[in-house]
Symmetry: C2
């Protein structure tokens, strides 16, 4: 138990005497209690839907206990890592409970990573068991081949997809069959114990392993309900990958609410709309790119859509136009901001509601909703501050500062990386590396990553601001803006643009468009057309573009 006898705070006296923790009045916080309760209180409610599969909470809990039991039999316990290379299927969902029930740590791997990175992760986290989806064997096979110590491999075989090869000792169902559905277990002895490990996909260097604990996962699961005003028994469509911050901790939230998970392997517009209608989906999450995909739905697809489906977006700043399109289709969009280090959502752009705001024109509403917002209920403190002095900036909507977070829903630290942990927690705050302004209403608006800011003639230019103007140009498919060395100004903005198919515009068109929407010094001085380089997860490689911009400067 955390604390315990002898940890009495200031004061002491009769309020601290004979009133210690005991088995009746103290239990470590863990989201594992949620599934036990869901199975006990709502045994027959549907927990998960995947194709023809439809399982109740009592069935799902029995499968999670089988998994825990099977893992225990092969030697898994506290301090061990179990990795999952899984799509959004029941198996990945079950791993969020079955693995921590054993006391071990779940490492859900981003399925879009390349074999070398996956191999790095499996070695770094010292995975003893790997659950891997057959469809992903093309990545996993070479990753496993390069490992010195191969984990026990269990194949997840999803009949809804073909292809891929079996790599493991046995398949997931056979493995479950070795386990006891009534496996007796206790939660962690200490709520600070690790529950999950998530590697951040940085654009440079090795990925860093972010460690979550049971307390933080419990509180984030609760915070999700409160920040999004979720009712009991939501029907949740898995448009968000479960490997992103453990699906922003929503597997645990769904157990808390005894909700239904509707699985989805691939983000494609038809199955999304079909499932929303067929399963009466009430909630879904996704990065702005998912919303962008949904925005391309045909009129036929959007017909018969239930009104007011709630959409939570985050992971990158959503262009207001994307929010606007979603709301036109009848979705209710909420925008959150977070990082892997904050278990997912840390800020949320809470809609004020009421007559004034609800009558607001859609475009204005979308612009306001595109801001990152204010802290979620379970995040204890947040500030926009000077990165050097940690002094909060003025709430004037103009002064740029870094976003700092603090509280129980901030990670334990980086795995086997004490220097990185110490640096990111310097001064007793978590440094997000995101630059933002603080509005008078308390809302934060992200302007840039620290390293993406461009300083031109002493003025700071937010590459994000320039990009968001470029995105409003109808011919622009994708845009990225970086600093280019400039003999006169020090740096200037350089824009890399991928155009929509079958359109033709030139540099001058773009520059004159930017002049109409940006301060003069912010307008890109050079424009480069062509496809943008990306990471396997789809992040634009700004460091590559920076090199190109440098080379460009040398050419002139």
């Amino acid at each position: 138990m955390a604390g315990g006898k002898g940890m009495a705070s200031h004061g002491g006296g009769p309020y601290e005497t004979g009133l210690d923790r005991n088995a009746a009045n103290y239990a470590p916080l863990t989201p594992l209690t949620f599934i036990e309760r869901a199975a006990s209180v709502f045994p027959d409610r549907t927990a998960i839907v995947h194709g023809a599969i439809r399982r109740s909470w009592s069935e799902t809990y029995a499968r999670c206990r089988r998994l825990a039991s099977a893992l225990t039999k092969v030697g898994i316990g506290p301090g061990d890592t179990v990795a999952v290379m899984g799509a959004n299927t029941p198996e990945t969902f079950e791993a969020h409970f079955g693995v921590p029930i054993t006391g071990a740590v779940l490492n859900a791997i981003n399925v879009r990573l390349d074999p070398a990175t996956v191999a790095f992760i499996l070695a770094h986290c010292e995975a003893k068991v790997l659950l891997t989806d057959r469809e992903l064997s093309r990545t996993i096979a070479p990753a496993l081949a390069s490992l010195e110590r191969r984990p026990l491999v269990i194949d997840i075989v999803d009949d809804s997809v073909e292809g891929g090869e079996l790599l493991g000792a046995m398949d997931y169902e056979a493995f479950l069959a070795t386990g006891d559905p009534h496996f007796p277990w206790r939660g962690p002895a200490d709520e600070w114990q690790a529950i999950a490990l998530n590697y951040t996909s940085g654009t440079t260097g090795h990925p860093k392993g972010v460690v979550y604990h049971h307390r933080g996962a419990y509180l984030t699961a609760v915070s999700n309900v409160l920040m999004w005003d979720m009712p009991a028994n939501p029907i949740f469509l898995w448009t968000l990958p479960m490997f992103h911050c453990n699906g922003w901790c929503f597997p645990w939230t769904l157990a808390l609410l005894a909700g239904t998970s509707v699985c989805l392997r691939a983000v494609r517009v038809e199955p999304i709309f079909d499932l929303i209608k067929a399963e009466k989906v009430t909630h879904l999450c996704g990065a702005p790119i998912v919303l962008g995909t949904m925005g391309k739905a045909s009129v036929e697809l959007t017909e018969g859509l239930p009104p007011g489906v709630k959409v939570l977006t985050g992971g990158a700043p959503p262009p207001p136009s994307v929010i606007e399109r979603m709301e036109q289709m009848g979705f209710e969009v909420t925008h959150g901001y977070g990082l892997t280090e904050s278990y997912g959502p840390a800020l949320v752009c809470t809609w004020p509601g009421g007559d004034d705001s609800d009558d607001m024109p859609l475009a204005e509403r979308a612009r306001l909703k595109a801001r990152q917002g204010t802290r979620v209920p379970m995040l204890d403190e947040m500030m926009v501050a000077d990165p050097e002095t940690l002094r909060p900036v003025a709430r004037d909507g103009e002064t740029l500062g870094e976003v700092f977070l603090r509280g129980n829903t901030v990670m334990k630290g980086y795995f086997k990386n004490p220097t990185g942990t110490e640096e990111c927690f310097a001064g007793g705050w978590f440094h997000t590396g995101d630059l933002a302004v603080w509005h008078p209403d308390g809302c934060v608006e992200i302007k840039d990553r620290s390293k993406d800011v461009i300083i031109s003639g002493g003025e700071k230019i937010s590459s994000l601001e320039v990009e968001s103007v470029l995105y409003r140009h109808p011919a622009v498919l994708e845009a990225a803006v970086v600093a280019r060395p400039d003999p006169k100004w020090g740096e200037s903005a350089c824009a890399f643009i991928a155009l929509e198919a079958d359109v033709e515009i030139d540099e001058r068109d773009v520059i004159s468009f930017c002049r109409r929407h940006l301060a003069h010094y912010k307008v890109p001085k050079s424009i480069v057309f062509g496809p943008l380089p990306k990471t396997p997860t789809g992040k634009i490689l700004k460091n590559v573009l920076r090199q190109r911009a440098k080379a460009l400067a040398l050419l002139v």
Copy 2:
């Protein structure tokens, strides 16, 4: 901080190395963060309405900080007790934040107690400051007079009522004026620190002081939202006294949701319905007796009532007929069960919802809703078990056992009462003293207090069951059933009945009514008509009735 270095759990290894608690990733749980956040994120939303008074969350927070500052100036700090003898007014609400901000403990006193009991409480809790409502001076003046050490007395002067006298050094507003609205504060260093002290009004002996901590208050505030499926920004009518388990922790829930508190001094049917309509109330709580009062509303009063106002009832088993009447008027009733020792709600009768259950006849629905239900989300464990062996009883809806609770929302213990604390936590479970059956669907149904069970010819009779049949007789106003020594059966049921005005029935009418609705052995063998003896809080004094029943047996 609870725990900290050196508290690593089993396992250890890289997940426990260099990943300690620090200011960035750990904060003690306290509901005080909720008001800070409400004031920061929703500064202009209405926090409280009382007559002509209407204050926002930023104003309310400033007043709470003033109160904390003023208390600090008179020497209040961690380990101290501040007592409040207050009606449901803004001052009592503010004390729930202002007092713990100083680190001190809030003792909200039941305003219906007699002077001697209040004096006992003030002495036992060693109150250094007493905030007291002028209207309650008739109780407080004699209580103070009998104290050896008089606390600093501050008068709450509510202009909405007349009468009473000023007893204190100054009034509440003058006291607030001595405080700083920007008072800087930190939460408790340890979440196990006491936040509140609530005396239970037992029917025998001295009241026991139940100690709450910040962690439990935080989790109960959250649990209330989840158990009742509360949306953001509810409008909450204070039909429940704030001195009952700190209003079941709802002052903190309302800060968490940035909801509105609509104050109400006295439970009378007209103001309740007028306020529901005028303030568009969405939620209210109350004991069954409050619902009984509301059920007497005239047709005019119920006209124009907003549909679907949510009502949470608990504190005593509600007669199904009371629930039925409320639902007929359009209220949505949820029934919870709890004790002072469980911060209020511990079980909730969650309505299954769905087509089957929603089409159920009202009476059947009311009967099911009258059961006590299953555990709330933040209560970790619950069982109905044999009081001796602690072995769970069968979930057959028939076997009687005691209700046991366990988890973070169970009190620290009884204040200055180590023996009582140890006894109630024997075996690592909190013993509620309530007897219940466990239904196959997991729902608990309370049948009696342990000491109220009647054993007749070896068969257990639930006095509650007999009472609930008696209440269905149209002539019965109040009923209480106790054991009466019986030469043949050991004990038999003896009913004390207060009749409605202007009706006349006799013993035989009652017995034949009971025969139609009860097993033969459960039918009372003797009936006594007349008013029932009660505590100042309105609880029927069953121990007095037991003495009378004994005397009756001797007479025969």
